[in-house]
C-alpha cells in the first residue's frame, strides 16, 4: 500500500492531471477566467502543468461590464506577467446584438446574460473544451457534476444523462458541435483553495482583503457596494464598513462581508469560524430559487 500524500499535494496532482488531459484530448480548449480566486488558482495550476511552454489554450473572460475595477486591472496585469493570450467578450455587446433585455431592478444583475455571451464565444472560436474553476462544494447542483461535463450544441447540461466517470480516466470524446466543460478543482473546498493560496503564495485582487467601503445595507442584511449600476433610493441605508469580498463576481450581485481579515492567514482563520456558506454569504443570484444553479447550468451556464 502506498503512503498517504498530503491532501493539498493530492488535490494539486489531480488538477494538473486533468489540465494535461484537456491539452491531450482536445483541439481547441479554453480556460474561462473570471478574475476570482478559483480561476486565479487554475492559472497557477496551468503554469505548473505546462511551463516552460505557453498554455495550450487562451484565457477567456466574459466581461459583464459590472466587474470591480480591481478585478479587471488584476486580470490585465496577470495576463501581462504570464504573457498568455486573453480573449474578452462583452455582455453589453451581446445585449445589443441579440436585442436582449438588460438586468432590471435595484441590483440589475447580468449574471444570467453571461450565458449568451459564453455560448457565442464558444461558437466563434469553436472551443471544444472550456475549463472552469467551479467546485462541487459551492452548490448542490454543482455537487452533482462530473469533472468532464458534456454539453450539447446548445450548451445544455443534462443531469440525468451524465456519462459514468471512473477512476481518473476521462472520456472527452464528443460529437461535432458539442463541448465539454472541465472542472479541475471540483474536489477542492473553499478552505482548500485558501490553504493552497497560502502555500503557493498566490497573489489576489485586493478586494479579497479588508478595506473600508461604502455599502447599501439591504433588507436581508447583505452589504452591497454602492456603484453606478445600482439604483439608489432615498431610504437606502448606507453604511461605511470594513469589508472584504468572499467571492468576486459582479458588483451588482455579489455582496461584501464585514471582515478585518487583511492577510491570507486571517482569512483562513475567519473561514474556520464562519457558520455561513460561501455562496449564501455573498450571492444574490442563488437566492432566487432552490434550483437556480441547476436551471442556469441546464441553460448553458458553466
Amino acid at each position: 500500500m502506498s503512503k498517504p500524500l498530503d491532501y493539498l499535494d493530492e488535490l494539486e496532482s489531480e488538477a494538473i492531471y486533468i489540465l494535461r488531459e484537456v491539452a491531450g484530448q482536445f483541439e481547441r480548449p479554453a480556460l474561462l477566467f473570471s478574475g476570482g480566486k478559483d480561476s486565479i488558482c487554475l492559472v497557477h495550476l496551468a503554469l505548473k502543468a505546462f511551463r516552460p511552454s505557453k498554455f495550450p489554450f487562451p484565457l477567456v473572460h466574459i466581461d459583464t461590464g459590472h466587474n470591480f475595477q480591481e478585478t479587471i486591472s488584476f486580470r490585465d496585469n496577470l495576463v501581462k506577467k504570464i504573457d498568455e493570450k486573453l480573449i474578452v467578450r462583452y455582455v453589453a455587446d451581446t445585449i445589443l446584438n441579440k436585442k436582449l433585455q438588460d438586468g432590471k431592478g435595484k441590483f440589475p444583475t447580468r449574471n444570467p446574460l453571461q450565458t449568451y455571451t459564453l455560448l457565442d464565444v464558444i461558437e466563434e472560436f469553436e472551443f471544444d473544451a472550456c475549463i472552469g474553476g467551479a467546485r462541487r462544494d459551492e452548490e448542490k447542483a454543482r455537487a452533482k457534476e462530473r469533472i468532464f461535463s458534456v454539453r450539447d450544441e446548445f450548451g445544455q447540461w443534462d443531469p440525468k444523462m451524465q456519462r459514468p466517470e471512473l477512476w481518473n480516466i476521462y472520456n472527452g470524446k464528443i460529437n461535432k458541435g458539442e463541448n465539454v466543460r472541465v472542472f479541475p478543482i471540483s474536489n477542492w473546498t473553499e478552505l482548500d483553495v485558501w490553504n493552497y493560496i497560502k502555500r503557493e503564495n498566490i497573489h489576489l485582487p485586493s478586494i479579497y482583503f479588508t478595506h473600508s467601503r461604502e455599502c447599501i445595507l439591504t433588507e436581508n442584511g447583505q452589504l452591497m457596494n454602492t456603484n453606478e449600476f445600482v439604483q439608489r433610493e432615498e431610504n437606502d441605508v448606507v453604511v461605511k464598513k470594513n469589508v472584504r469580498y468572499r467571492t468576486v463576481g459582479d458588483m451588482t450581485c455579489t455582496s461584501a462581508i464585514e471582515s478585518k481579515a487583511s492577510t491570507v492567514d486571517d482569512i483562513i482563520k475567519e473561514l474556520l469560524e464562519t457558520k455561513i456558506s460561501e455562496r449564501g454569504a455573498t450571492r444574490m443570484d442563488d437566492r432566487i430559487s432552490e434550483a437556480a444553479m441547476e436551471d442556469r447550468k441546464k441553460g448553458g451556464y458553466f
Partner: protein
C-alpha cells in the same frame, strides 16, 4: 491532514442520503444559511421531521420531487484531523453506473442495509462492485434499527447473513454498525437505545480508521499525457514528456523502456514545476527528458527496463456494462486506460456474475445495462498493464462507444 474518500451504497430507501445528511448535520459541517433553506423546503414537503436531511445531497430538482437519488453528489467535510470526500450514490438499479462512478475513487464503502429487510439484491450488487473495485474498507450500517425495536438478535442475524454472502467476495476489512440515521443513533454519538452495541459510532469509526490506499504496486509506471514543446528560440530543442507517476518511483539516470515500441533509453532529467528533481514519487506530476531523441506519443508507457508490465493485445477482464443499449457482438469500441486509447472489440462474453450468489454463471453471450461479466477483449494496439488487483492505476479501463462517444463499460483487468 489525511483525506478519506468514501461512498454510500445500498438499496433505494435504505436511507443513504439521510445518513450522510445526519453525518454532516451532527458534525456541524452545514452552514446556517443552508439549514435555513432546508428547513423551509422540509416544511413545504410536509414531512414528519423538522429537517429532511436527504435534501442536503439530493441536489437536483427531479431528485427532490421524487425523493430519490439519481446521480452521485459529492460532499466535503472536515473533523479534527481528517478531511472527507463523500460520494452519495444512487440506490436504484437503473443508476448503478452512477454508483460505480462514485465508488471508483473511494477507499471505503459505506453500505446501508434496512434492518427490516436484511440483504437485498442491491446490497449484494453493490458489495460485488466494491469487491471488483477492491475497495480497501467496507462498513455496513444496519439502518432503521428503531423499526426493529433495536433488536440485537436481528442485527446479529443480518451480520451473519452478510458474512456468509461475502465469503465469496474479495472484501478484506468489513465492519458493522447498527444505526438509526433519521434520529442519529450511532451516527455521530453513541446510541442510548442500543447499549448492547459496544463499538464506535460511524463518525468516530471514519475518523480513526487507518486508511489503506487502493492497491498500487511498487513497480514504476508512467504514461505520457502531453508533450511539452515550447518551440521558442531559447528552448528550441526542448521536448518534455508530461504525465503523472502512476505507481512506484523514478530516478534520474535510470534505464527505461518506452512501450509499446520497446525502445530503451535513459532518464536524463525529471522536472516538477520547472525545477529539476532527482526522484519522483507516486502521484507526482512530472516532465521527463530522455538521453535519446525518440518517437514517443501520448498514451505511451515509460517503465523501468528491469521491471516491465504485461503487454498484450488480448485481455480477460471483469466489466460492468453501463450503456442502456445492449452489447452487440462485434461492436466497434474504444478502449481507454488513463491516456492510452485504442480500438477494441469484445471477442467473447465468457461468464456473467450472478448477483444472488456472486458466482460466475455461464453466459448467453449478451450484455445488458448493469450486467457484470467476465469478457475477452481484443485491442488494435497492445495494452501495457498490470492486473487490477496488483495496481489500480494500470489495471483499470473504460470502454467507449465509437458511435455515441458514451462511456459504455468500466473494467478491471484480470
Amino acid at each position: 491532514m489525511q483525506l478519506l474518500r468514501f461512498f454510500t451504497a445500498g438499496n433505494v430507501d435504505d436511507g443513504k442520503s439521510t445518513l450522510i445528511g445526519r453525518l454532516l448535520y451532527d458534525s456541524h459541517a452545514i452552514s446556517t444559511d443552508i439549514i435555513e433553506t432546508l428547513t423551509k423546503q422540509s416544511k413545504v414537503k410536509g414531512g414528519d421531521t423538522e429537517i429532511d436531511l436527504a435534501l442536503l445531497t439530493d441536489g437536483l430538482r427531479a431528485e427532490r420531487t421524487q425523493g430519490i437519488t439519481i446521480d452521485v453528489a459529492y460532499k466535503y467535510f472536515t473533523t479534527g484531523n481528517r478531511q472527507f470526500i463523500v460520494a452519495d450514490t444512487p440506490g436504484h438499479l437503473e443508476y448503478t453506473r452512477n454508483m460505480f462512478t462514485g465508488a471508483s475513487t473511494a477507499e471505503l464503502a459505506l453500505i446501508l442495509i434496512d434492518a427490516r429487510n436484511g440483504l437485498t439484491d442491491q446490497t449484494k450488487r453493490h458489495s460485488i462492485i466494491a469487491s471488483i473495485l477492491r475497495i480497501p474498507h467496507v462498513v455496513i450500517c444496519i439502518n432503521k434499527m428503531d423499526l426493529i425495536n433495536y433488536s440485537e438478535e436481528k442485527y446479529k442475524q443480518i451480520e451473519n447473513d452478510y458474512m456468509e454472502f461475502s465469503r465469496q467476495l474479495q472484501l478484506n476489512d468489513i465492519s458493522f454498525i447498527p444505526v438509526c440515521a433519521l434520529q442519529g443513533d450511532n451516527v455521530v454519538s453513541q446510541s442510548k437505545n442500543m447499549l448492547w452495541y459496544q463499538g464506535k459510532s460511524l463518525l468516530n469509526f471514519l475518523e480513526i480508521i487507518e486508511i489503506d490506499k487502493p492497491k498500487l504496486s511498487n513497480q514504476s509506471r508512467f504514461q505520457v499525457q502531453y508533450i511539452i514543446r515550447p518551440q521558442t528560440n531559447t528552448l528550441h530543442d526542448y521536448r518534455g514528456f508530461a504525465g503523472k507517476v502512476l505507481s512506484g518511483t523514478y530516478k534520474k539516470g535510470q534505464k527505461v523502456t518506452v512501450l509499446p515500441s520497446g525502445i530503451e533509453t535513459i532518464i536524463d532529467k525529471i522536472e516538477m514545476n520547472q525545477h529539476e528533481v532527482n526522484v519522483a514519487e507516486t502521484n507526482a506530476p512530472i516532465v521527463f527528458h530522455f538521453k535519446d531523441d525518440l518517437d514517443i506519443s501520448r498514451g505511451n508507457s515509460i517503465v523501468l527496463t528491469e521491471d516491465l508490465p504485461k503487454i498484450e493485445k488480448e485481455i480477460i477482464a471483469i466489466i460492468c456494462w453501463m450503456d442502456s443499449a445492449n452489447y452487440v457482438p462485434g461492436q466497434k469500441i474504444l478502449f481507454q486506460q488513463n491516456s492510452f486509447r485504442t480500438k477494441a472489440v469484445v471477442k467473447e462474453v465468457i461468464s456473467k456474475i450472478d448477483i444472488h450468489s456472486s458466482i460466475e454463471k455461464e453466459s448467453d453471450g449478451t450484455m445488458r445495462l448493469n450486467d457484470i461479466c467476465k469478457v475477452l477483449i481484443k485491442t488494435a494496439e497492445p495494452i501495457c498493464f498490470d492486473r487490477y488487483i496488483d495496481n489500480r492505476n494500470t489495471g483499470a479501463f473504460i470502454l467507449i462507444s465509437e458511435n455515441t462517444n458514451n462511456t459504455i463499460a468500466a473494467g478491471t483487468i484480470n
